[in-house]
């Protein structure tokens, strides 16, 4: 949809026209038009991979567009780096706050303020931070180090930064997904005040309810293109659903359960694990996992899930407690053995892939000492490796020209398929998947979920760890929540609803009391 240039009037703060951006031949944005009016809350709606983040990153100077124009206050401008965006009054509050852990709040904010000279001694900026923190009731201590802040506090730091930069446009990327009710209220309050101050807010969200609640206007992106632009009055839940998805909301996945074989695959007793800083990340966790079931662990990032999974997978030390895998204590396994028996699809895919190696060398990471590939226990038979890779590429539908291309050239979704292919082809009794659909589009997510269920039906045990409560709800047989290092078993799928999961994710053990009180 094109916005003709005559649309420019004094009300329009930002106009983006014909924006196109490509990554390795994949079109992230295709001729997108987007405009922001003064004093409005404009919601950008769309699925994962639709292009919302890319569009916004171009506006904030993090990415360079391949084609297109940007007009700020009616004048055509070049935004070539973050500094330019800031200069024109555009700021972003990232979904995952990008602050420097090792510095204080004051130091972080001062980095963004051009007006402060390099010999600035932080005293003046500190005063300002306290002033504005009080104004919005943010309760921030400027001398605190960012690594000691909670998620919501970090977000507030980014908001303060945007305010202190006197931004005309503040972009907020999925701001309320991981907040408690009180914290969410704080953000909505802030957005209202910002509107009153004449600032514009671009809100990126996937929650239709939130869009309907706060938006003045809504722009919907799908697969890199603008498919709709509506005023709030004209938007309804049903309309938005239809525009965002091709088919109506995903049908519940067909899930029969084979209750015949139930062997204990994993048993964790009183597990305690530390994080890098020596703090208790996992405190006293107990868990039993059987073959033929999917256990979903929901939780906001940073509550110990990573440390828990790493301890099970054997890359992190247990401080206390036991992990029994297939009847044996985990310390009795040697590393290679263990990794072959557990298929692990990690959150950060690049950690499991050697980007500078060709696909075929990546695919044999867990299999290179297998007798089919190894001749005389020493030499790798690359001919059979190649054949093996070819078959995996077609089976898992990985978009690659041939197995010889470097893994680094694959897109995010295909990299994940590579890891899936590698892990699942070993037929491991236990599969651990962390945030598996975070970066996938709707179709691939469906495929992934049905693959996991298929494996469950074949008797595998699957541990699904996810920040997305809906995913956990949809796929798991039993549902648990991880909060501040503690694991709470909520019950089976039929006993639990989304609201309960989210309460536990945000509040942990206290959720019990809240529910009782009503």
């Amino acid at each position: 949809m094109n916005i003709p240039p005559t649309f420019l009037n004094s009300d329009t703060v930002v106009l983006m026209r014909g924006i196109t951006k490509e990554f390795y031949g994949f079109k992230a944005l295709d001729n997108v038009d987007f405009d922001i009016k003064k004093g409005e809350i404009h919601v950008l709606l769309g699925e994962n991979g639709a292009g919302k983040t890319t569009l916004v990153k171009i506006l904030t100077g993090v990415y360079l567009m391949d084609r297109g124009e940007i007009y700020i206050d009616g004048v055509k401008r070049d935004i070539r780096n973050v500094g330019d965006a800031v200069k024109y009054g555009i700021s972003i509050v990232n979904q995952y706050p990008q602050l420097i852990d090792e510095l204080t709040i004051t130091e972080n904010i001062s980095l963004s303020l051009r007006s402060l000279g390099i010999i600035h001694r932080f005293n003046k900026i500190k005063e300002k931070i306290i002033e504005y923190s009080d104004k919005y009731s943010f309760k921030l201590d400027p001398d605190k180090y960012v690594r000691d802040l909670s998620f919501s506090e970090r977000q507030r730091v980014e908001i303060l930064k945007a305010i202190l930069l006197d931004s005309k446009v503040i972009i907020m990327d999925e701001p309320t997904t991981l907040l408690t009710t009180w914290e969410r209220k704080l953000i909505y309050q802030f957005m209202k005040r910002a509107k009153e101050e004449g600032r514009s807010i671009v809100l990126i969200t996937h929650k239709l309810s939130e869009a309907l609640e706060v938006a003045d206007r809504i722009t919907i992106l799908k697969k890199g293109r603008v498919v709709a632009r509506l005023n709030a009055e004209d938007a309804t839940y049903g309309k938005l659903m239809k525009l965002m998805f091709d088919k109506m909301h995903a049908k519940t996945v067909d899930r029969k359960r084979d209750v015949n074989s139930r062997n204990e695959v994993l048993r964790i007793e009183d597990l305690m694990v530390l994080d890098e800083y020596g703090r208790k990340a996992v405190k006293n966790v107990n868990l039993k996992l059987y073959s033929g079931e999917i256990v979903g662990i929901a939780g906001i990032a940073g509550n110990g899930q990573r440390e828990l999974i790493e301890a099970i997978y054997g890359v992190r030390r247990r401080e206390a407690g036991k992990i029994i895998f297939l009847g044996r204590d985990i310390s009795k396994y040697n590393a290679r053995e263990l990794r072959k028996l557990i298929g692990y699809i990690p959150d950060k895919i690049p950690e499991a892939v050697i980007l500078n190696m060709p696909i075929y060398e990546n695919l044999i990471l867990k299999k290179y000492d297998n007798s089919v590939i190894l001749r005389k226990k020493i030499f790798i038979d690359y001919k059979s490796v190649y054949k093996y890779s070819d078959s995996l590429i077609s089976e898992y539908n990985i978009a690659a020209e041939d197995p010889g291309v470097e893994a680094g050239t694959l897109s995010g979704g295909n990299l994940q398929k590579l890891v899936l292919a590698r892990e699942l082809s070993l037929d491991p009794p236990l599969i651990i998947a962390v945030n598996p659909s975070k970066t996938l589009d709707h179709f691939s997510t469906e495929l992934l979920h049905s693959t996991l269920i298929k494996y469950r039906d074949h008797g595998k045990a699957i541990l699904l760890v996810s920040e997305d409560s809906e995913e956990v709800m949809k796929v798991s047989d039993r549902i648990m929540v991880m909060h501040e290092g503690n694991l709470y078993e909520l019950g089976s799928r039929d006993e639990v609803d989304l609201g309960l999961i989210e309460e536990y994710m945000i509040r942990g053990g206290e959720a019990e009391e809240v529910i009782k009180v009503g």
Binding site: F23, A28, T54, V62, Y63, L64, V82, G83, V86, N94, Q98, L99, I100, D101, E102, L103, E107, N108, S110, L111, S112, R114, L116, G117, I118, I119, H120, R121, F122, K161, K348, I349, P350, S411, G412, L415, T439
Partner: protein, 294 residues
């Protein structure tokens, strides 16, 4: 045994090490590892010698030594930051180039006497206090004002720093230039202020020790003088123990600074002390502006 003589010697020997390590602290705090420091030091030594022999002016000698070091530092910055070349390889290549250029320009000057040099004598207290003051100043700049926050941000988390508006490339190149300048200056001081003579290979080995000092000082300018003086002390001790009444073998003694360095490194890495000596998170890792869309 520990006479005033030895203490003065320790300070004189430690000064060039301190200068070089202070510069490298800034470089590494911004995330750049400069293994070229060794070659820069050797080149600075040669340049200062040649300049002073020709001009009779020690200040000029020091300045030119610093400039030579700065140029090499700049090259390292461009190759490893802008061209994303591996920092280790670039640094080593520069050390080799530094050795080579030092050889070339010093060839015709071997054996020539210095017409003048930096004489400290009884003014050693002033030297010591100046050093400590400079170390303190550099610490203050690094931790108490915005400049330091910029440098440290780039060394800990360049991607977030970039997101916050910091010019990562410019910062890294400037700190590398600064470190190179001080490294060259240090080499110049080594010749003009300490050994007062030059030959092929003068200054070799010192740059590596300065790099070790950076690590064990936890990248903190306040701690650098302590370790520079310790190493200076080792040198002074070597000198003393070669003479009567000890008469230790000069070659075996000559291994001491290096064994000491190794020992101190192992102590710091192998003991619980390690917790306090965490390097800047992004040290040695090149900065890529456009992340993968994962």
């Amino acid at each position: 045994m520990i006479s005033l003589d030895i203490i003065i010697r320790a300070i004189l020997a430690g000064t060039p090490l301190l200068i070089a390590s202070l510069g490298e602290i800034y470089t590494e705090r911004s995330g750049v590892l400069n293994l070229g420091l060794e070659g820069i030091f050797v080149l600075g030594a040669a340049v200062s010698f040649v300049t002073t022999v020709d001009s009779g002016n020690v200040i000029l000698g020091l300045i030119f030594a610093g400039i030579a070091g700065g140029i090499l530092g700049l090259i390292h910055g461009i190759v490893s930051v802008s061209f994303r070349g591996r920092q280790v390889v670039s640094g080593l290549a520069l050390t080799i180039v530094g050795y080579g250029i030092a050889s070339l320009i010093g060839a015709k000057y071997v054996g020539k006497p210095l017409p003048t040099y930096i004489y400290i004598g009884d003014k050693w207290i002033i030297l010591l206090i100046s050093e400590l003051a400079i170390a303190f100043l550099l610490w203050y700049l690094l931790f108490k004002i915005k400049l330091g926050a910029i440098i440290r941000s780039v060394g800990e988390d360049p991607i977030s720093a970039y997101g916050l508006g910091v010019d990562v490339v410019k910062t890294r190149i400037l700190t590398t230039l600064f470190g190179g300048f001080l490294g060259g200056l240090a080499g110049g001081w080594y010749v003009l202020g300490y050994i007062h003579i030059w030959t092929e290979g003068t200054g070799m080995g010192r740059g590596w020790i300065a790099l070790a000092i950076v690590i064990v000082s936890a990248w903190n300018p306040l701690l650098a003088p302590i370790f520079s003086l310790i190493f200076g002390g080792v040198e002074a001790a070597i000198w003393r123990f070669q003479l009567p009444p000890y008469n230790f073998n000069p070659y075996l003694l000559g291994a001491t600074p290096y064994l000491t360095t190794l020992l101190i490194l192992v102590i710091f890495m192998a003991t619980p002390l390690k917790k306090y000596f965490r390097p800047p998170k992004a040290l040695g890792i090149p900065f890529y502006r456009e992340e993968r869309t994962i």
